[in-house]
């Protein structure tokens, strides 16, 4: 099992085992010695991580441990939030995305992000789904029938089609929060991303909405690599295949979810999942 190589407890990042190459299972995102500073403050410290393809990986840890920062590294959206310095390497599709010849525009096309607070754009549902295609289209070269088809496919994929098919021209901001969040996922799909990053996708939703979104994520896992940041340990446990525990910008433990929760190897992980701090 590839899990073995995750045994690196990562407390001392310079341990040799860390640098072992991933085996067997296909890896979607690889980071090597990734460090990140906001100004003088170091938010990530030598993060080395292999996120496998086609599964759901959740990032857990107390507030301020760098989960969201790490997530934002994967599509380099961090650069928009002010004075950020990054060192190390992040490989996606076998290309270091920190290289100068990487177009962030193309990168973000293949690495989509879903936010904590659903943020559909204040335009119609139809236009929301097409937004990505429109900004990436060379000219306005998508025919009307093709557009209709894109919208229908994307909305069907997230189980929203039946609810909104009669009001596609309505403003997306009038939908319920759960529907908005589904729409936010749906609008990534026409871009055919490799990876979908989710930053606490359910924390604005009620229990029922959370369940539906979780089921949706579960279903999407077949086609995309999904990385979920969550504050909610129970959710990480329910709805993820692998789990990464982070603390103060470092990775403490990265193992299959059941193992991590049943038999945590690191003392800090154990204390955290028992709820003794964080």
């Amino acid at each position: 099992m590839a899990v073995d190589l995750m045994e690196s407890k990562t407390l001392k990042p310079d341990v040799e085992t860390l640098v072992t190459e991933p085996q067997a299972q296909e890896v979607s995102i690889t980071t090597r010695d990734l460090s990140l500073w906001y100004g003088d403050f170091q938010a990530l410290e030598d993060v080395t991580l292999n996120i496998r393809k086609g599964i759901i990986t959740s990032l857990i840890g107390p507030s301020g441990c760098g989960k969201t920062t790490l997530l934002r590294c994967f599509n380099r959206i961090n650069e928009r939030y002010g004075n950020v310095t990054t060192t190390g390497e992040i490989r996606i599709l076998d290309k270091n995305i920190l290289d100068p010849d990487v177009s962030t525009r193309q990168l973000r096309k293949s690495v989509g992000m879903v936010f904590q607070r659903p943020n559909p754009l204040p335009i119609s549902i139809y236009d929301n789904v097409l937004f990505g295609s429109n900004i990436h289209a060379a000219h306005k070269g998508i025919s009307r029938s093709a557009r209709d088809q894109i919208v229908e496919e994307a909305l069907r994929e997230v189980d929203l089609w039946d609810a909104v098919k009669n009001r596609l021209k309505q403003r997306a901001t009038w939908l319920t929060l759960e529907q908005q969040q589904k729409l936010c996922i749906a609008r990534l799909l026409p871009l055919k991303p490799e990876i979908i990053l989710m930053d606490e996708p359910c924390s604005a939703l009620d229990a029922e909405g959370t369940e539906k979104i979780e089921n949706l994520i579960e279903r999407l896992r077949e086609d995309f690599t999904i990385v979920v940041v969550t504050h909610n340990m129970a959710q990480a446990r329910r709805a993820s295949d692998e789990c990464v525990f982070m603390l103060l910008g470092e990775i403490i433990e990265h193992r299959p979810t059941t193992d991590l929760f049943m038999t945590p190897e690191n003392e800090k992980t154990e204390m955290y999942i028992q709820g003794r701090y964080g």
């Binding site: 525009r105 973000r108 096309k109 936010f115 204040p122 609008r187 871009l191």
Partner: protein, 370 residues
């Protein structure tokens, strides 16, 4: 420790009002009343001034008042009827019929009264040029002058101001240079208009060799209105929630795509507010145009196309604000109603532009929600 009694009530009700509370309540009521009085101190004199102006100008403008009044009522009632018709399925035909009947009736009435009442004054004050050393005729020449001045100055300042605001708010990095520009913009908004006027003389009339002309005056007014347009544009752009931008960036939109498809459409409201506020200012200012192009009196065509575009870019022109100054202080034997009429026309013009903008903003706001 001193034993402070926080609950002086000895009765059975543990939540009874304490004397301090009652006293505080009284003071708050007093304060509230004072605030109300302060508001009234603004509103009452203003309404009184408006009423007084309108009343004293009624000799020359009574017909205009009537048409505008009836016109407003005539548009509002059908509007509400149509709204009611949308909601009420059963009486839709009745409401729509009534609305159409009222609209038709009022248009016919206005046409008739205009045709039959021509020699009774009518719109003469608005449509005639000043005659006999301003003691007769109307305000058409200055009215169209002010209109062209405002239009031209907006054509110059709106694009520059809006694009500068977009740059400062969306593209510029936060460094000392940008900060100095921002500081300058804020301070320029407070520069007295006569200083802008002198700047205009130096920069446009002499340095750029425009001479005293409509173009020079419009440019001066444009420079005067720029800071506020820039500031309000910046504020309008900042008020668009960051989360929308984040959504756009995360799909790989470029900065300009984000601005064009998302930020500008959602901030057009605030941008327009800034621009339209400047219409009022551009129309009302006398000092900046005094030295740069406004003229005491200019004879223009009374009818035809030339009366609508009487001033070329190179020509000097008449403007309402300057005309008001003229008829109020520089010419003798002007009927009182002419002086007040000019003021009312100036205010009315500004109010009309403002109400159009308010209507437009209501329309835009109805479409937006986040």
């Amino acid at each position: 420790m001193a034993n402070v009694n926080l609950n002086p009530n000895d009765g059975n009700n543990p939540f009874a009002r304490t004397p301090q509370e009652i006293k505080r309540k009284r003071i708050e009521l007093g304060a509230q009343f004072t605030f109300l009085m302060m508001t009234m101190a603004l509103v009452i004199p203003m309404l009184w001034i408006m009423w007084d102006l309108a009343y004293r100008a009624s000799d020359v403008l009574s017909y205009t008042y009537m048409v505008i009044g009836v016109g407003c009522v005539g548009l509002l009632i059908p509007y509400f009827l149509i709204e009611a018709a949308k909601r009420n399925e059963h009486k839709r035909k009745l409401f729509m019929g009534l609305a159409i009947a009222i609209l038709a009736g009022i248009s016919i009435w206005i046409v008739c009264i205009t045709v039959f009442n021509m020699d009774n004054g009518g719109f003469d004050f608005l449509t005639l040029n000043p005659k006999k050393r301003m003691t007769a005729g109307g305000v058409w020449a200055p009215l169209i002058g002010t209109f062209l001045l405002v239009l031209l100055s907006l054509v110059i300042s709106a694009p520059i101001g809006i694009l500068a605001g977009v740059y400062l708010s969306e593209f510029a990095n936060d460094n000392w240079f940008t900060r100095i520009i921002n500081l300058a913009v804020v301070n320029l908004a407070g520069v007295p208009s006569i200083v802008h006027g002198l700047f205009g003389v130096g920069a446009f009339v002499y340095f750029m060799d425009m001479g005293r002309s409509l173009l020079a005056a419009s440019s001066t007014v444009a420079v005067m209105t720029l800071p506020v347009i820039i500031t309000s544009t910046k504020e309008a752009l900042t008020s668009v929630p960051q989360s929308f931008r984040a959504a756009c960036w995360n799909m790989g939109a470029t900065k300009w795509q984000t601005i064009r498809t998302l930020v500008l459409p959602n901030s057009i409201n605030g941008i327009l507010t800034g621009v339209i506020l400047q219409v009022a200012r551009a129309a009302g200012e006398t000092a900046p145009i005094l030295f740069t192009g406004a003229l005491y009196y200019k004879k223009i065509a009374d009818t035809g196309f030339d009366s609508f575009v009487p001033y070329g870019l190179e020509d000097r022109f008449m403007a309402l604000s300057y005309h008001l100054f003229t008829v109020a202080t520089q010419v003798q034997d002007v009927p009182e109603s002419f002086q007040f009429g000019t003021a009312v026309v100036l205010i009315g013009m500004v109010l009309m532009v403002n109400s159009i903008s308010i209507g437009f903003r209501i329309y835009l706001r109805a479409r937006k929600r986040w």
